[in-house]
């Protein structure tokens, strides 16, 4: 297939499937809580609903507030192009690596945090301050995860992951550290709560509080795509998968099944974790991410020892 087609395929794949994963997590959570819960497709309905609403922009807000949704979605989609899903090796893989991904995500976060301050509401300030606090503590743990992966494969290039064949102790520990990081990055329960708009608990929701209509839809979509990207990255580390070979249809089928199954495993784990732990105080998050950092060190040590 043509490279350009693959690009579009990958982009569309991320945009179309990402809300589904969010809906799936919510559905599993509700099932675990013995609730009927919303439809699994609710995130799609929400996006459509938001696009059909007229948005309200704060009088205090400047152009920063208006451009942020676009910067957020563009940074997220740029990362989506760097993750090996359909495109395992292409000229674009030289564009950036795992480290660059961290920084490109930081671009979107930077603007969202600024937009939150832009409206002059104290909720926004609260969210912005907390988000930057959590994000800065995430960085060292994330860096060590990248480091442990790098030590095993000698490259930070994401397409190298697709060449991985076996699971090692290091990648297991590294992936669990990454899992904790992703909980914080995707504003999941012990760190943040996507379901509530209570000022004491919210971080990401507080930043997006002043957004409405299509802008909010873009921000939500960006958050969902970002979550999906992280799930794929964990999957690539913990459940290595070989490059797709179009030899026969049966092989393709089982490959695709396993490809999706590993994402499902992560989704289910995430839902179970979210249901079974309580939201922690903001200042406990430092300990939580400190734990992720220690796991990162252990993963690095395992990688150094060759385990």
């Amino acid at each position: 297939m043509n490279k350009i087609t693959l690009f579009f395929l990958q982009l569309i794949f991320f945009i179309v499937v990402a809300p589904f994963l969010s809906g799936l997590i919510t559905k599993i959570k509700n099932s675990l809580r013995m609730r009927k819960g919303q439809s699994i497709f609710q995130p799609y309905y929400n996006l459509i609903k938001l696009f059909s609403k007229i948005q309200v922009v704060s009088e205090t807000a400047s152009w920063i507030f208006r451009v942020t949704p676009f910067i957020l979605i563009s940074s997220t989609l740029t990362v989506a192009l760097l993750v090996p899903v359909f495109i395992f090796s292409n000229p674009l893989y030289r564009m950036g690596d795992f480290i660059a991904i961290i920084f490109i995500f930081a671009l979107g976060r930077f603007f969202l945090a600024l937009a939150a301050l832009d409206t002059g509401s104290s909720f926004g300030g609260m969210g912005s301050s907390r988000e930057m606090f959590i994000a800065s503590l995430v960085e060292p743990a994330l860096c060590l995860v990248v480091f442990s992966v790098f030590l095993q494969f000698g490259s930070t290039n994401l397409s190298v992951f697709s060449g991985m064949h076996a699971v090692s102790v290091s990648s297991l520990v590294g992936a669990s550290a990454l899992f904790l990081v992703v909980i914080a990055e995707t504003s999941r329960v012990p760190v943040d709560n996507q379901e509530t708009h209570l000022e004491l608990t919210m971080v990401h929701e507080a930043m997006a509080l002043e957004y409405s209509g299509a802008s909010l839809a873009l921000i939500e979509l960006a958050a969902q795509v970002k979550q999906m990207i992280w799930f794929f990255l964990i999957a690539q580390i913990i459940f290595p998968i070989t490059t797709l070979s179009l030899v026969n249809l049966k092989g393709l089928f089982s490959w695709g099944l396993w490809y999706l199954a590993r994402i499902l495993i992560i989704v289910i784990t995430m839902a179970i974790v979210e249901v079974s732990v309580a939201k922690m105080r903001l200042f406990r998050v430092a300990d939580f991410l400190g734990f992720a950092f220690v796991l990162g060190i252990i993963a690095s040590i395992c990688a150094i020892l060759g385990a």
């Binding site: 564009m95 600024l114 301050l117 509401s121 690095s300």
Partner: protein, 635 residues
């Protein structure tokens, strides 16, 4: 006998030329900026108020002439420092640079704080110079010459322990200028007090001359002797990064925030330099050269964006008359251009792609990773942890600049100062515009810059870089750095133009979708206020509030102190609350205050020798003479 006369006065190798370049790209816009800075301003906020002359920017013409004279002398002395090939002349130029910058720090003499800041600065800088003199004298004792060439030759045969001592002396000497923690104390005092274009040159360039000193004297002349040198520099660099950025986060004076952030960035530069020192000792000259490239890249980047940010801070100060971020806010509407430039600078310093800070931090992280891959055992873990600390630093720096930009430029104005701000004149904006363009250019043209810096690093490290591959893939302009086969043989790739392009395309795609499908035009309405009557600036998050989580998380280091007081009208009615919060400056409290007390105490003790009696003084002279005669006779 005339050995102190220089044989080769100047040397213009790529290393020197690189620093000359850095000096001029910051000094030029700063000089243009000065044109506008000295025009008196008409902020209505000062109308009924007795503001100090410096706040009103009322400078006499003689003083302005003096300023230009000092500025030229300052830039020239820095140029001499980085080009001279003789230790003695180097010291003279170094001293002129320090003294002239002292006069520039105290330029606004109406501020009592300026005088105090200047005093701290001049004491610290002279302590540093004393260490340098000691190091240079030891070098002279071996080389019998002050010329770099002679010193370089003799350093090859110098005994190891002597080299160690010289290295430590040089590290303290240059470290004082560079602001390595715990020698950074002067920086947050001196930089904010100088006029902003001077802060910009001081922070952007002057402290970089110390990095030049370390590269020139330690790496180039002395030659790295043992691996603990590099480890020591790396540990100091990590501490410098973290301490600098944590203090910057706590700061509410915008220029002091930038000064602390300079401390942090000097740490990042030193990470590159220190890693180069470590790797060269581990017999990996190519990787070492690469580490130095990363360090130098961050050096030029920091010069550009810190210069830019200081100029912006100066514009804010000129327009509002205050540097306290808690009194600012909403300036993006009053000063749209300054706000935009400050945003560019903040993005660059927070290492956001595709700007220049991102490239150099990415390179530094890559070098740490590659260095770890090429070493073994504990060294790997050490380098990995250094890299993760760099990541933490960049995360905290992003938080710091979200705070700086958000509180100063966004939201509602928090005082009349901010309410009555006006955009600054064209010449000032031009200075900022010039540097903003450079921020973007140095980000996009990363491959080209790396290629040029490789030549500088090659001279400094004395490596033949022709076996390293530096290339630019067309048309994506991907920068490639390839190491020779005996050192990993790996290549790393980064394409900032491509990232920029994809970011823009995706953003535009988002915009098109938005325009096609979003319903209606956005309605303007007030910020949601929970049904409260009307939100005003008092409801906004302040800078202090923003940094609260960090203050609590790092409380073991910051030792925050908080006092709340109720002012009562009567027993039943509380009239107002007073709230006060401080963080403890641990280095000042636990190192400098006891040290100063010790010096004063010993001075008091020495004073007993000087009671004012002429007889006693004559006795001193006589006994000295006697001792000297005995000394001469016996030895």
């Amino acid at each position: 006998m005339l050995d102190f006369l220089p044989k080769q006065l100047f040397l213009f190798d790529p290393l020197s030329l690189f620093f000359i370049f850095v000096i001029f790209i910051v000094s030029l816009p700063s000089a243009i900026y000065s044109l506008g800075y000295f025009t008196p301003k008409a902020n209505p906020c000062f109308a009924g108020r007795q503001a100090p002359a410096a706040e009103k920017n009322e400078y006499s013409s003689a003083k302005i002439t003096l300023f230009w004279f000092l500025l030229v002398l300052f830039v020239l002395s820095m140029c001499v420092v980085v080009t001279v090939g003789n230790v003695l002349v180097f010291l003279v130029a170094w001293e002129i640079m320090s003294l002239v910058s002292y006069f520039l720090v105290v330029f606004d003499t109406t501020h009592e704080k300026s005088i105090q800041a200047g005093t701290i600065y001049i004491i610290m800088t002279h302590i540093g110079t004393a260490f340098l003199v000691a190091a240079f004298l030891i070098l002279h004792k071996y080389a019998h010459s002050f010329d770099f060439a002679a010193i370089k030759n003799v350093c090859l045969i110098m005994p190891g322990p002597t080299k160690d001592i010289v290295f430590l002396l040089l590290l303290v000497g240059f470290g004082t200028k560079a602001g390595i923690v715990p020698l950074h104390v002067w920086l947050p005092y001196a930089h904010p007090q100088a006029p902003s274009q001077i802060s910009s040159i001081m922070s952007g360039v002057m402290i970089k001359t110390a990095i030049y000193g370390i590269i020139r004297f330690v790496i180039f002349l002395l030659g790295v002797n043992s691996s603990w040198w590099g480890v020591l520099v790396l540990i100091l660099a990590v501490i410098t990064c973290l301490v600098g950025v944590i203090y910057a986060l706590m700061e509410r004076d915008i220029k002091r925030l930038l000064a602390y952030s300079s401390v942090e960035n000097m740490g990042i530069i030193l990470l590159g330099v220190g890693l180069a020192m470590l790797l060269v000792n581990m017999k990996m000259p190519y990787l070492a050269a690469f580490a130095l490239i990363a360090g130098l890249y961050h050096l030029v980047n920091h010069a550009i964006f810190k210069g830019l940010l200081f100029l912006c801070a100066g514009s804010v100060y000129k327009a509002t008359g205050t540097r306290d971020i808690e009194k600012l806010g909403g300036l993006i509407k009053k000063m749209p251009q300054t706000a935009f430039y400050f945003l560019i600078g903040s993005m660059a310093i927070s290492a956001l792609p595709p700007l220049n800070g991102f490239v150099s931090e990415w390179l530094t992280l890559q070098v740490f990773f590659l260095g770890a891959l090429n070493s073994a055992g504990g060294a790997r873990l050490f380098l990995g942890i250094c890299a993760s600390m760099l990541a933490l630093t960049s995360g905290l720096a992003a938080a710091c600049f979200v705070k700086a930009f958000g509180v100063v430029f966004l939201g509602l104005p928090r005082s009349n100062y901010a309410q009555s701000a006006k955009e600054v004149p064209l010449s000032m904006n031009f200075g900022m515009f010039f540097l903003s363009i450079l921020v973007i250019v140095f980000g996009i043209a990363a491959g080209l810059v790396i290629k040029l810096l490789a030549k500088v690093a090659a001279v400094a490290m004395n490596v033949d870089i022709s076996t390293m591959r530096f290339s630019l893939y067309n048309p994506t302009l991907t920068a490639q750095v390839g190491l020779p086969a005996k050192e990993l043989g790996k290549s790393i790739y980064l394409s900032t133009p491509m990232i920029a392009l994809v970011l823009i395309v995706m953003g535009l795609a988002g915009f098109v979708v938005y325009r096609l499908f979003a319903k209606g035009k956005p309605v303007s309405y007030q910020t949601w206020d929970c049904g409260y009557y009307k939100l005003d600036s008092r409801n906004e998050y302040t800078g202090t509030a923003f940094s609260k989580p960090f203050r609590i998380a790092f409380s073991f280091f910051l030792q925050p102190y908080r006092k709340t007081q109720k002012v009562r009208e009567s027993f039943y009615q509380v009239k107002s609350f007073a709230y006060e919060t401080h963080t403890t400056l641990v280095f000042k409290k636990y190192i400098y205050v006891p040290l100063i007390a010790l010096v004063l105490k010993s001075a008091k003790f020495m004073r007993r020798m000087q009671p004012g009696s002429i007889h006693l003084y004559l006795a001193y002279i006589f006994s000295t003479l006697l001792l000297l005669i005995i000394f001469m006779h016996k030895f």
